[in-house]
Structure formats: C-alpha cells, structure tokens
C-alpha cells in the first residue's frame, strides 16, 4: 500500500512540476532552436502561425512568444537575431539594413511593412526620441526609395528619417520585420525562399 501511495505521489509531483515549469522549459527550447526553422538570409519566420495543422509544440512556442499573432494569410513576421554574416546583433556595433528592392506586399489593399528594434528582453528599446520603428506603406510620398538603406545606431546624431536607435546599453538585440498583407509569393515556403530580403550589414 505504501508503495502505491509513494508511486502516486511521485507521479503527481512529476506531473505538477512539468506543468508549472513548462513556460520556462519552452523558453529554453525556443532559445536553443533559434538557429533552426525557416530562414531567408538572416530572417527567420514561421508560416504556420494560427493554422490548425501546425505541430502542437510549435503552437505552444508561438503562444509563448506571439500569442494572438495573425496567420500568414494576413501578416508574416520575420525576425533577425544575427546580421547577414551570421554574427549576433549587438548594440556595440552599428548596422545598415539594405533593401535592394521592395517587399511583395499588397499595397493596393493597404498592406505595409515595418521594421522594429527590440532589446535583449524582447521589449522596445529606451530612447529619448521614442522612435522604435520605420514603416513603409507604398504611399510614403517618395520618402523611401529603393535601394533603401536604414541605419541602426546608438548614436543620436544618426537619428534621421531612415534610422532607428539601438539600445543605449551594450546588449544583443533583434529586428522584427512585419509584413502586413503579404502577396502570395511570401506566403508559400517554397517561393518565400526566392524573395530578395534585406541584408543586415555591420558597418562599425
């Protein structure tokens, strides 16, 4: 009898521990699998967001990092953690994001894209200008022309229309490229690889 009770208690304890610490286990799995997944250059995405057929573990990971995210029919979320040479993005350096061409967005139906910088803690970075992102909607009255260069720097002197401040303290950071209302070529994994995505170049 004592054996059965001990077995039940140990089984329940294991179960409760797993459920309680699952979010942290998930964080670890997400961190370790950061280099895996679907990549185009330094840009990583998951085209199975919000879809029934997506694997359960991937759904759990998406719920952890992007609960309520749109499916790729409506928005595709690209994230970069490294530059185009494969080195971690670090605010000690300065970078340029080089768009040789525009992205396949349905501008006619008000689609747009945006670039946002996040600190190591995944929140917006502190900066006096409160400038966190650049967006382009196809009707920016010629403000953005291709090829397009966006500057990423900690230095306030570089803050211009085409620049975004990096975290003031030295830390790793990430870049989110959100494509609202992408065209079909970006929605399919096979064709999405052929898109010319922007390069991320370390300049200093």
């Amino acid at each position: 009898m004592e054996f059965v009770i001990a077995a039940l208690i140990s089984f329940s304890t294991g179960l409760i521990l797993a459920v309680k610490y699952f979010p942290f286990i998930l964080d670890y799995v997400i961190e370790k699998s950061q280099k895996r997944g679907f990549y185009n250059g330094p840009w990583k995405t998951h085209l199975g967001v919000g879809r029934k057929k997506t694997a359960k573990i991937e759904k759990a990971a998406i719920a952890r990092v992007g609960l309520g995210a749109n499916s790729s029919d409506e928005t595709i979320y690209w994230n970069a953690f490294t530059d185009s040479d494969g080195n971690d993005l670090d605010s000690r350096n300065e970078y340029q994001i080089l768009f040789n061409n525009d992205l396949p967005i349905d501008y006619i139906n008000k689609g747009f894209w945006s670039i946002t910088i996040y600190g190591e803690d995944k929140f917006l970075v502190v900066n006096p200008q409160k400038k966190y992102m650049i967006r382009y909607s196809g009707d920016n009255e010629g403000a953005l022309k291709f090829p397009l260069v966006l500057n990423l720097s900690r230095s306030g002197s570089m803050i211009s229309e085409n620049s975004i401040p990096l975290p003031l303290r030295f830390e790793k950071f990430s870049i989110a490229l959100r494509c609202y209302r992408p065209l079909n070529i970006m929605k399919e994994q096979s064709t999405s690889l052929s898109i010319s995505m922007p390069l991320i170049k370390k300049i200093l």
């Binding site: 294991g14 409760i16 719920a63 952890r64 990092v65 499916s71 029919d73 747009f112 967006r135 609202y180």
Partner: protein
C-alpha cells in the same frame, strides 16, 4: 533503498506526462488566462477593450509589442448566441481576427471586405444555419472566441481616425 529507483521512475513518468499535457494545452491555457484577465478588468463577453495609445518602451505587458497598429479586443461565446458586428469605413489597413481557444485563426474581416464609405454588417455565428440572404457571415466554430482587431495608424501618426473607428465598432448579440 530498493524503492528509490521506482519512485524516481514514477517521478520521471509523471514529468513526461506533464510535458505532453502542457504541449497540448498550453495555447488554450494562455487564451483562457487572457479571458480571465479580460473579465477581471470588468469586461463582459462582447465588450470591446480598446487600446487607445501607441505603445512605447514603458509598456512591458507583452513581449515584442508593435507600434504600427492600435488594438481592440474582445471575447465572444458563439455557442451561446450569434452576434452582429457593424464595421464603419476606415481608410487605412485593418484586420479583425477570430481565434479559437487553440489560437487557430478561424476567419478574418479586413478592409478588403468593406466598402470605402459604407458601414457593413457581419454576422458572427457558430454554424451557417442562421445566415440570412446577402448577409456577410463569419463562421466561428468554437465555444469561446478571441476577437483581435488591428488598425493601422495613419502615416502622419494622427490617432483620431483610429479612435473613431474603434468607437464605432458595434458588436451585439442577436
């Protein structure tokens, strides 16, 4: 001494079982956590919660917030009743996503679905049997549905039109 390996084996088995359960249920648990928080703030199902300001670095509620849209959100229970949703014209991007408790997107209403100068009515229903003729219908086959509306902020940053849009989204039980 002899019982210790057995206990450890049961502990490990329980842990594995817990992992499997968590993988299956984590998205649902998160959506229900959001629903509980929504209710704790005093909102009822079908009430819109509007986010009226663009996020900045002081907002640390959710990771990777975006600064290019404003949100409105609500929860509905299509198993209890059908709903009608009136959507006024809006000159910018918007999408209204209908998610089930497993975070699967069941349908969208977007600016592509509305006319430039006309308020459009949609029926949100669990099945198709109530669909009146010529009525736009979103089928939401879920007991609980999380509705997330995203409104693109105009290029000049003026939030007036977004607020007008948010305030004129009328969701009613039928």
């Amino acid at each position: 001494m002899t019982i210790l390996p057995t206990i450890l084996a049961f502990l490990a088995t329980g842990f594995c079982a817990g992992l499997i359960v968590s993988i299956q249920l984590y998205p649902t648990m998160e959506v229900k956590r959001m629903f509980r928080a929504f209710k704790r703030e005093g909102y009822l199902t079908g009430d819109w919660k509007h986010f009226g300001e663009v996020v900045d670095h002081n907002i640390r509620v959710i990771v990777k917030p975006n600064c290019e849209t404003l949100y409105s959100t609500t929860f509905i229970k299509p198993s209890d009743t059908a709903y009608s949703l009136l959507i006024p014209p809006y000159p910018e991007y918007f999408s209204i996503a209908f998610l089930d408790t497993n975070t699967d997107v069941l349908g969208y209403i977007t600016n592509k679905d509305i006319l430039p100068e006309e308020t459009i009515r949609f029926i949100i229903n669990r099945t198709n049997h109530l669909k009146p003729n010529n009525e736009n219908t979103i089928i939401v086959d879920s007991d609980l549905c999380w509705v997330i509306a995203r409104f693109g902020i105009p290029g000049n940053g003026d939030l007036t039109s977004v607020h007008t849009m948010q305030n004129n989204l009328i969701l009613k039980k039928i």
